[in-house]
Amino acid sequence: MLRLENVRKAFRSGQDIVLALGGVNLDLAKGDFLTVIGSNGAGKTTLLNIIAGTILPTVGRVSVKDRDVTTLPAYRRAQWIGRITQDPLAGTAPMMTIAENLALASKRAHRSLRLAITRRKRREMVERMLSLGMALEHRLDDPVSLLSGGERQALTVTMATLAQPEILLLDEHTAALDPANAAKVSLLTQEFVERLGVTTIMVTHNMEHALALGNRLLMMNKGEIIYDFNGGEKGSLTVVDLVDLFSRQHIVDDELLLEAR
């Protein structure tokens, strides 16, 4: 489904060149759910950016469904790849209404001069919003800017569902929410991933999440994959094991310890 071959990314920082990714190889099959952990600057977000096409790799090859997409612009890759970031403001258009945002996501190709929101579509939207259980079904005509962070992120997840991507990239997408909303959005995402069997990569700082979700776990450091646990191996891991592995790399920082408690 998704393959990265020797992907490197170098950034220029003044006189220096910083290697954000140093030769990453990764192969994901359809339906794989990969969780990625690593300290700040490990290259997790760069990895997602390269997959989504918002930045191009310095060297290496990215392919989706055996098609080379290394230089394909982000908007063309969007037909297969959905992405939800940490920022609840990023995934929706604030001045437009909930209904308009949903309409934008529900039709992704061959847009025409037909009315975007028909009565039938509205009824579907009400159904979708009812299933969220956030009382948004009465607010279809409210601009999204009036929604709370949790509501906006739930809407973003719903919009990703509508688009039915084959690959879903989650970049700490619950990190900016309060615990209750984070749990809700997390559950929503899980349902969605299971129902559609979408290939998923989730970057997280929460080691419990990283262990509880998915069938594969990557640990990254300084732009490289340092551990790669599959199915069974991953199942037997504990948070303590992870912290132990981190400390063996001398990359334990306060934040990680806090996360691990």
Binding site: P73, T92, A93, L104, A105, S112, L113, P143, A163
Partner: protein, 299 residues
């Protein structure tokens, strides 16, 4: 007195079409586009030279003017999205290029339409039973038609994408849209409307002049801002209505200033200065009000 109001309304609506064009770039696309100062004249130039030297149909030249303005918008769009020139500079470059092109189109700095049949004259002739209301009625119908087509367009799938492009471009890219192409399309639509307005104004006032477009961006902004401060809605139908109302208020104010301004020492040539001052105040007041409100809250 009544006649002044009728003329103000006619002009308010005709320039209102240009203001709708400015509205598309400034409010919807979030792209401050200065091309309009040139494309307004392009519309007027194409219309009048086709009427005078080639005897074209006065209604047909409106369509041609729209198309010419759209091409100007496309050029600004390509300068910005393909060549990476910043939005303001891309607009300025187009505007300056258009100055020469407009002179080429007209062949001289101004063209009189006094001896030519224009849409305004045709309407006044065909509907002379309506007296001096006939032109106003025609202008109202044309402007409202443009507005409602625009409102409908912004409710279509493509229209929705165009609005979202100005609102959250990254999100629109993630929805699989080539936002560069959408910006070019939006600029084309905007400048098409501005050129249409120019063609109508030329036929209405009976001449085209290469300098008639100076300040189109400012008067357009004045209409958008005045209207927006009166009607605060995010619905497209109300936003576009507010632009037309803003344009009507602005033109009425200008009419009275030109007629009675001498009382307080105004000259007609002070108009652009006063307009710009109005726009500055209108731009600054909301930000100032917000700051005051925040200060009250923190106290």
């Amino acid at each position: 007195m009544a006649l002044i109001l009728i003329h103000a309304a006619e002009q308010g609506l005709l320039y209102g079409i240009a203001a709708l064009g400015v509205f598309i770039t400034y409010r919807i696309l979030n792209f401050p586009d200065l091309t309009v100062d040139g494309s307004f004249v392009t519309g007027a130039a194409i219309a009048s030279s086709l009427l005078v030297t080639h005897g074209f149909d006065p209604f047909l030249v409106l369509v041609i003017a729209f198309a010419a303005g759209a091409v100007a918008g496309v050029i600004t769009g390509l300068l910005n999205t393909r060549l990476g020139i910043t939005d303001l500079l891309a607009g300025v470059l187009s505007m300056i290029m258009l100055y020469s092109i407009n002179l080429r189109i007209m062949g001289r700095p101004n063209i009189s339409l006094l001896r030519t049949d224009t849409v305004v004259r045709i309407v006044a002739r065909e509907f002379h039973s309506l007296g001096n209301m006939s032109v106003l009625l025609f202008v109202t119908i044309v402007t409202l038609a443009v507005m409602f087509i625009l409102v409908f367009f912004f409710k279509t799938e493509i229209g929705l994408v165009l609005r979202a492009t100005g609102d959250n471009e990254h999100m629109v890219i993630a929805q699989g849209v080539n936002t560069k192409r959408m910006k070019v399309a939006g600029l084309a639509l905007s400048n098409g409307l501005v050129a249409l307005s120019g063609a109508l104004v030329a036929q209405y006032s009976g001449f085209a002049d290469v300098g008639m477009g100076i300040g189109t961006i400012v008067t357009g902004l004045a209409a958008v801002i005045i209207g927006g401060s009166l009607i605060r809605s995010r619905k497209v139908v109300w936003m576009t209505t507010s632009v037309l109302i803003g344009s009507l208020i602005y033109r009425t104010a200008v009419m009275f200033a030109l007629r009675y301004g001498y009382v307080i020492g105004f000259q007609a040539s002070d108009l652009k200065l006063v307009t710009s001052l109005i726009v500055i105040v209108a731009l600054v007041v909301p930000a100032f009000r917000e700051r005051m409100a925040r200060r009250v809250k923190t106290c």
